[in-house]
């Protein structure tokens, strides 16, 4: 309908190009559209595949070990002669790493973001921003080695009175993971702050607000949803970080411990350390890896959902 009337109205103006085209471009577009749809479907398929591959061994696992025992037990010794499957020790290990990492990354990352977005001259920003993005891609193995061979000995040298009783420290590993995610937190929240409309910034300056006040009272709250997103991304990364904790946090002891200075295992370190070639399918230990993986997945998912809610709640909408 619309087609024919358009054709009629333009027919007089330009008779050269008929609106009902030859159809070749239409055809090409269909191919592109199908290709794009396939790509999208592929990523969904992969995600589904991951979930399914987690589910089967996890169900197996819980067929043998009761869920309550898994979630509330305080001894983690799946491979011992007298095995015990209380996951809390490695959950706490993960939590120590995450909390420590955030304690480093949130203040440092946000301060850098505020500096870059509100204080730095464009010349400084042009150098620092790409540098940050390069740092994001630094191999985590390097940071793990740095933590183990440099940070941990240095910490003992300058703070000898603290209980460093092993060469490993879950806390130091957490600090290293924090350093690892600083660039991510800084760069994502800087983007959020920079995208706050210039009009808001000007409005605040025009009221005689200092740079600090404009940053903290106008830009920061207006960018809060992006900043929360940055922290969530950082947290996900910290939860999932494996290499650094594998190297610097030690194997850990099977019992629940909150010792920041000593060695401890995280969920990822357990998975990473156990999933080696000589583990045979069908054993409990094999299934354990997936049960821990499923728990990790659930934790990250829950956190993302909470964060999404938070963002919606605190968002200061601007037009």
């Amino acid at each position: 309908m619309a087609h024919s009337s358009m054709a009629a109205s333009t027919a007089g103006a330009s008779p050269r190009r008929p609106l009902a085209g030859a159809g070749t471009s239409r055809w090409g577009e269909k191919v592109i559209k199908t290709f794009l749809a396939l790509c999208a479907a592929f990523s969904i398929l992969v995600t589904t595949g991951i979930v399914i591959s987690l589910v089967v061994p996890t169900v197996n696992f819980f067929g043998q070990i009761p869920l309550v025992e898994f979630l509330t037990g305080t001894t983690w010794a799946p491979a011992f002669a007298n095995p015990s499957f209380g996951v809390l020790p490695i959950v706490v290990g993960t939590l120590i790493v995450v909390v420590t990492a955030l304690a480093v990354a949130i203040p440092v990352g946000l301060a850098s973001a505020i500096y870059l977005s509100e204080y730095a001259s464009s010349r400084v920003r042009k150098v620092v921003k790409p540098a940050l993005e390069v740092l994001e891609g630094i191999p985590t193995v390097a940071i793990g080695l740095f933590a183990f061979f440099f940070m941990r000995p240095l910490a003992e040298r300058y703070l000898p009175f603290l209980p460093w009783d092993t060469p490993f420290s879950i806390g130091i590993a957490g600090v290293a993971v924090g350093l690892l995610i600083v660039p991510l937190v800084a760069s994502v929240s800087e983007d959020a702050m920079r995208s706050v409309p210039a009009g808001l910034r000007e409005g605040a300056y025009a009221l005689g607000a200092s740079k600090m006040r404009v940053s903290m009272r106008v830009i920061f709250p207006a960018a809060i949803s992006g900043i929360i997103a940055a922290v969530v991304l950082g947290t996900s990364r910290a939860i999932g970080e494996t290499m650094v904790v594998l190297i610097a946090a030690g194997a850990g002891n099977p019992n629940l411990t909150f010792n920041w200075f000593g060695s401890a295992q995280t969920m990822t370190a357990y998975i990473g350390g156990t999933a080696t070639g000589d583990i045979s399918q069908g054993t409990v230990v094999y299934d354990t890896i997936f049960a821990v993986g499923a728990l990790l997945f659930t934790m990250t998912l829950t956190m993302n959902i909470i964060a999404t809610r938070l963002v919606r709640r605190f968002r200061e909408v601007y037009e």
Partner: protein, 292 residues
């Protein structure tokens, strides 16, 4: 800080003190003889990244009256307005030269703090730009910034009444400023500006995003406000200038021999004079709609 470094203030050339009415081309004396001018501009030029946008502006801006800046797009009206409260400091590469006195003090003097300047000289922008906060917090932002004494509730109410917005929002102060209409938002921005009780309010096309009814309300408001504040308004609306302004300054673009377009003050006078018997042909052409 990219800010202050870009500015430099040169002394006024001998014989062209901006205070003396009529001495410089386009220069204009104060309106009411009993009031000292709030701004005295002597040969003010502004450039961006070395490209002059506006040059050689010499004029006085009277206190407790409305001065309108009119002229074709790109002639530097906003540029000049923004140099009156040092908003140009925020633009890297912007540079203001010449003498810019605010109540006798050099605005760009070494000891002058731009933040303090803006506490006295407020600004309302072309596009309403309320903060993404509640109506109340929008108005309270400035008073909290300058640390005003007294009950914040009263300060907020007074400002909202001053901006003729109180009746409409008194029962919804905790709602987001974005729940207001565009015209209400603009009056909220005016309330926000007057809450700190400034000396001067600069308005850059404050009605250009508003419907005719909101425009009339803002214009009425300006007429009210000039009893307490000195107001400078940039407008593209000739009728608006004629309606609200006591004095009007006409700017135009001059193309120099290298092809650069530089803004210039053509003339400034009583609004009535500018609109009925302007001295310069260009003013007449512009006002009568024969713009080149």
């Amino acid at each position: 800080m990219p800010d202050n470094s870009g500015h430099e203030t040169t002394g006024t050339a001998p014989g062209t003190t901006g205070t003396a009415p009529g001495t410089a081309p386009g220069g204009v004396g104060t309106a009411s003889p009993d009031e000292v001018p709030v701004f005295e501009l002597g040969d003010v030029s502004v450039s961006y990244n070395g490209n002059p946008a506006l040059a050689g502006v010499t004029m006085d801006i009277g206190a407790k009256e409305i001065t309108a800046f009119i002229g074709p797009s790109g002639c530097g009206k906003s540029t000049l307005l923004r140099s009156l409260n040092r908003m140009n400091d925020l633009i890297p590469g912007a540079r203001v030269r010449g003498e810019l006195l605010y109540k006798g003090t050099d605005l760009y003097g070494a000891s002058v703090d731009a933040v303090q300047v803006r506490k006295r000289i407020g600004m309302v922008f072309q596009k309403p730009n309320p903060f993404p906060k509640s109506i109340y917090d929008n108005v309270a932002f400035g008073p909290r910034t300058v640390g005003m004494k007294g009950s914040m509730d009263e300060i907020v109410e007074k400002a909202l009444r001053g901006a003729a917005l109180w009746e409409e929002v008194s029962d919804r102060l905790r709602e987001s400023a974005y729940s207001l209409s565009g015209g209400q938002q603009q009056r909220l921005c005016i309330a926000r500006a007057i809450a700190v009780e400034p000396d001067v309010i600069l308005m850059d096309e404050p009605c250009s995003a508003l419907d005719p009814i909101s425009t009339v309300r803002v214009e009425d408001l300006m007429a009210e406000l000039k009893n307490h504040y000195s107001i400078v308004i940039v407008t593209h609306n000739m009728h608006q200038a004629a309606r609200v302004a006591d004095r009007t300054a006409f700017f135009s673009v001059q193309v120099d021999d290298t092809g650069r377009r530089i803004g210039q003050l053509i003339e400034a006078d009583e609004t009535g004079t500018i609109f009925t018997k302007p001295t310069d042909k260009r003013t007449e052409d512009y006002i009568s709609g024969r713009v080149g």
